[in-house]
């Protein structure tokens, strides 16, 4: 492709495949191989988003990946993305420094319906890096705390060293209006917290199934069993939401990669209601 053939045109926001230029404003290292980037749009604009949505982040010359937005939707300021190094592009993202350029397309996807829980209790069940896509839910709940009943955050990680947002979890614990339970799959002897699979936290949370909405996010296996634990506790399938993940190249429903049966995870999801997903959550190789 010859650059000479490329016409000089201002970035057409109408073309959803064109990335907009942003810069890394801040970078924090979280757990091993995981960083959180705060991005600011080069043109000074602010991209609004709903909890659960994601952006396609480009490292120019390397590639593009979908990353959930994990900041507070109500706050002005940059776009927050927590990225784990699992491949070429995500690795490049984790190696960026403040001031570096990133391409942003989005926000895309369906969102966590936090308003469904108004007046009732909320259970947020997360595992591993799944805490990132649900963090905006917690910010939304805190921003209007009086409109919700009991809030429970049940979080499972692999080991204590891999507990995401640990300082923030500790800060939230200091609020007296949220119950936070953290467990790990295994730990060294100096860990004083719970050890065990995260689904065990559900019966301990004493949910009131008649007025609970649950948001579940994490590896697919964890979400599967997490949903089962919630169903065992009496929560209705239509009150459980989860976030699915599939390969994405376009995020606009045109590349075909993110298909899960009849749904496109990028535009029909990534947030789905448990009963609407049906067997798609458990079907093999679909």
């Amino acid at each position: 492709m010859s650059m000479a053939q490329t016409a000089e045109r201002t970035v057409a926001v109408l073309d959803p495949m064109l990335p907009r230029v942003a810069r890394v404003a801040k970078k924090t290292r979280d757990i091993p191989k995981v960083v959180t980037l705060v991005l600011e749009m080069e043109d000074g604009s602010r991209l609004g988003f709903e909890p659960g949505q994601f952006n396609m982040l480009s490292v120019f010359g390397v590639g593009e990946v979908p990353i959930s937005i994990s900041g507070d939707p109500a706050k002005s300021g940059g776009l927050v993305h927590t990225v784990r190094d699992v491949g070429m592009v995500s690795g490049a993202l984790t190696r960026l420094a403040p001031g570096d350029i990133v391409g942003v397309r989005g926000p895309f996807g369906s969102s966590w319906p936090v308003s469904e829980a108004l007046g009732g209790d909320v259970v947020v069940l997360a595992g591993g890096l799944g805490l990132a896509p649900v963090r905006p839910i917690l910010y939304s709940l805190f921003n209007q705390r009086g409109r919700f009943g009991k809030i429970s955050l049940l979080y499972g990680a692999r080991e204590p060293e891999e507990i995401l947002y640990r300082p923030e979890l500790a800060k939230w614990r200091q609020r007296l209006d949220i119950e936070i339970q953290v467990t790990v799959d295994r730990a060294d002897a100096d860990w004083r917290g719970d050890v065990g699979v995260v689904t065990r936290l559900v019966p301990k949370a004493h949910v009131d199934p008649k007025q609970t909405v649950a948001f579940v996010c994490g590896p697919e296996i964890m979400m599967r069993y997490g949903c089962e634990a919630l169903l065992d506790a009496g929560v209705a399938e239509s009150s459980i939401y989860l976030s699915m993940e599939r390969s994405m190249k376009c995020a606009i429903g045109l590349c075909g990669h993110c298909q899960l049966g009849p749904v496109f995870v990028c535009k029909d999801g990534p947030v789905f209601r448990r009963d609407q997903l049906g067997h798609l959550l458990t079907a093999k190789e679909v």
Binding site: M3, R9, P16, E64
Partner: protein
């Protein structure tokens, strides 16, 4: 000055010089005129400027895993079915640059790739292909996001359809309700008549088609020409190479995701992606980023992809559809079943290309029948 108008619905008869005049008139209007040509032992779509470029007197013989050209005893210009290419080659090109970016000082500028504005005139579009184009219109133009490249190419195109006079060996448009008669979606539609003089019955399907028709040497089509044209289409409809009961396929396939037939076909399928390449409705694509050595100029392009590749369903950790069985099943259930949930119609137009161009001759009509468990 108002030009003459043809009486509404009036069909005309033209002969070979008329066809030539049609190609010339399209070129004069600034279209890039594309039609069937002989190339590499197949009939493919490429630039045409006169009737001499068309594959006169050639037909194709197709069956499972087999495509061969054969000489006809007459000089029919459109006496074949479909070749390995479809019009998606132009509307949805195999490789398309999306944008380029250039670092300037500390900043970076993203430049949209402007498509060299080409207006395509497609000559010789089969009815199944009209349906395929309509299906891709639904995918690229009627979702929440519009593909700007497809839109630009599609909006400026002119379509000359051809009613099939010869049924292909692997065709089943009748089963899929996608032919053989062209009903809509064309600017002009012609039916080739060979008995009693080589001529074509033409009807307009749009104002643009009507205007073009006015310029061509023609005569009002006599009733016997119109009857002959109808007979040609009826004969083709009766000679389909394949059939597939299509009213129940959605539920049939989705209720049989663990049918042993999937393992059976997986044992034959090479994962070569031929079927997805020749299929006129397949739209899967991937993106590729590239950069110069200094990282100053970068670009992203979009290219055809296939759900048969291991890469297609790769999420960190591995492919969701790792087995050949799951990938074949994904393709066929998408094409015939979940496509309906997504876009309101089947994704298959019964053109038979996937059957002819599969190296091992996998026949989707046979696979569906096997899963149904009986003879059709």
């Amino acid at each position: 000055m108002t030009p003459d108008r043809l009486p509404a619905g009036q069909k005309v008869t033209i002969d070979k010089t008329g066809i030539n005049a049609l190609l010339v008139a399209l070129a004069k209007r600034g279209y890039r005129v594309l039609g069937p040509v002989l190339h590499d032992n197949a009939i493919v779509y490429d630039d045409v400027s006169s009737v001499a470029d068309l594959p006169a007197g050639w037909t194709d013989e197709q069956s499972g895993g087999r495509y061969a050209l054969k000489r006809r005893s007459d000089g029919a210009l459109f006496g074949y079915a479909v070749g390995p290419q479809s019009w998606k080659k132009f509307l949805f090109p195999p490789i398309q640059t999306l944008w380029g970016a250039r670092r300037e000082g500390n900043g970076l500028k993203v430049l949209s790739e402007s498509d060299k504005l080409e207006r395509y005139a497609f000559v010789g579009v089969r009815t199944c292909e009209l349906h395929a184009i309509a299906i891709q219109d639904r995918v690229f133009l009627q979702g929440p996001y519009v593909d700007t490249h497809y839109k630009a190419r599609r909006e400026n195109s002119f379509i000359v359809a051809v009613n099939c006079g010869t049924a292909g060996g692997t065709c089943f448009c009748v089963s899929m309700h996608t032919g053989p008669k062209a009903e809509k979606g064309f600017d002009l539609a012609l039916t080739e008549l060979l008995d009693g003089g080589h001529r074509f019955v033409v009807e307009a399907g749009s104002i643009a088609g009507e205007e073009l028709l006015l310029e061509l040497p023609k005569r009002a089509a006599p009733p016997e020409d119109i009857a002959a044209a109808d007979a040609v289409v009826a004969k083709t409809a009766a000679a389909m190479g394949r059939a597939m009961r299509s009213d129940d396929v959605h539920d049939l396939l989705l209720a049989n995701m663990d049918h042993p037939r999937w393992d059976d076909v997986a044992g034959r399928c090479l994962g070569c992606t031929n079927c997805t390449m020749v299929c006129p409705t397949c739209f899967c694509m991937t993106v590729e980023d590239s950069s110069d050595l200094a990282g100053v100029e970068t670009s992203r392009s979009r290219r055809w992809d296939s759900c048969f590749t291991m890469d297609h369903s790769y999420v960190h950790g591995g492919a969701v559809r790792a087995s050949a069985k799951s990938r074949y099943r994904q393709w066929l259930t998408h094409k015939l079943a979940t496509w309906i949930d997504q876009f309101g119609s089947s994704g298959c137009v019964g053109c038979g290309r996937c059957i002819s161009w599969c190296p091992v001759g996998i026949d989707i009509t046979e696979e569906v029948a096997a899963i149904r468990g009986g003879r059709e």
